[in-house]
């Protein structure tokens, strides 16, 4: 799940990246003429570029720290694109203003061509600015991770605290062969997780230890198991079996109608549609 971070931090990483790119710009020959009104010295060039890298690296670490690696990486590149475009537009605007002050000799025909060019260029720039904003907005409004949903089961098995939830509350999927299935997510508390060897899920009590259900796989912070849901009824139980690293086996069950009532409703609806 994408961390719910205040907009302030989004603004901060964008500002850090902008500062980084401005230092890069000041460290370049042409851009320094626009920004500083003079050519820079070789020492200044090294200094500005170093500052530029420092700010971009800080931006990177802030992104990774706040949004974790999985989201932070994407956000970082999005921020870089946005910041670089803003800096390019800013430098272009200053250069244009300066040219306007000192050069007013353009011919009418050239002016028209320039205006055409500007319209085209502005259109592209606006698109390029809006695109990362659109991506950032979509990332920000991503739906909650299933484990954060209100319907998730928060419980304890043995000494291990965990959260168990459906992938989509009350709505599974049907395979091409017509089998209704549901994916479940499981996350143990951080201190517990390394003590877990396996976790299994199935409907109704296992007959024996040789078939405890479908194993939870995927990364430890978001283990998933997909099980078939046909033949569910009001008495059906969802059985979680956990095997710890020291070989101890724990089991816990819930009545599906009580914990995930919408799933039964969805199954009934699915059956009725098949009958039609």
């Amino acid at each position: 799940m994408m961390p719910n971070i205040s907009l302030f931090w989004y603004g901060l990483v964008i500002i850090l990246a902008i500062i980084g790119f401005l230092f890069f710009a000041m460290g370049s020959k042409k851009e320094s003429l626009v920004l500083l009104n003079r050519e820079i010295l070789a020492k200044e060039k090294v200094l500005f570029k170093s500052f530029g890298w420092i700010f971009l690296v800080i931006t990177f670490f802030v992104c990774i720290y706040l949004w974790y690696f999985s989201y932070g990486m994407f956000l970082y590149f999005g921020v870089l694109i946005l910041a670089s475009l803003l800096v390019i537009v800013f430098i272009g605007f200053i250069a244009y203003k300066k040219e306007e002050n000192f050069e007013n000799k353009a011919y009418k025909e050239e002016k028209e061509n320039l205006e055409d060019f500007k319209v085209w260029k502005i259109g592209v720039l606006v698109t390029l600015i809006l695109l990362p904003l659109f991506v950032a907005y979509n990332l920000y409004t991503l739906p909650k991770h299933p484990l954060e949903s209100e319907n998730a089961i928060k419980d304890k098995i043995g000494e291990f605290e965990f959260v168990l939830s459906e992938h989509r509350t009350g709505k599974g999927f049907v395979t091409s062969q017509g089998m209704p299935m549901q994916t479940y997510h499981l996350r143990f508390c951080e201190s517990c997780d390394l003590k877990i060897k396996y976790a299994y899920l199935r409907v109704n009590k296992p007959r024996n230890l040789s078939n405890l259900g479908i194993v939870f796989d995927a990364p430890y912070w978001d283990r998933t198991s997909t099980i078939q849901l046909n033949n569910l009824n009001d008495k059906s139980e969802l059985y979680l079996t956990v095997v710890s690293n020291n070989g101890e086996i724990y089991q816990k069950s819930w009545n599906i109608k009580e914990v995930f009532p919408k799933t039964l409703e969805w199954l009934e609806k699915n059956k009725m549609e098949n009958i039609k």
């Binding site: 999927f173 395979t175 091409s176 062969q177 089998m179 299935m181 396996y198 299994y200 109704n204 007959r207 024996n208 040789s210 078939n211 405890l212 259900g213 479908i214 194993v215 796989d217 995927a218 998933t224 198991s225 997909t226 099980i227 078939q228 046909n230 033949n231």
Partner: protein, 105 residues
Amino acid sequence: MIKMIKRFMFLGLFVLPNLALAHSPFFMCEYDDGKIFCEGGYSDGSRASGVKIKLLNNDGKVLEEKKLDELSSVSFTKPNEDFYILFDGGTGHSVEVEMGDISGI
């Protein structure tokens, strides 16, 4: 050499991510005219041809053992005692169908 690199890139980009996708087994049976017809498969729609299917009694004794055919299906003659059918995909990938869950019985 370039061809080989392209092949590896193709593998890396398209084949390996698909292999990494998890797929879970399912198994269902129905009774008709003295026989039990079962079909197995995986959640991604793929078939489970070749997977062992065991017909067991309540004591865990294997009464009959077959494999899913090319169409991912198998059939058994209904035994005269209580039973259940096991889709034996290995530990953590097996599914049981109880006698009471078989439609038509």
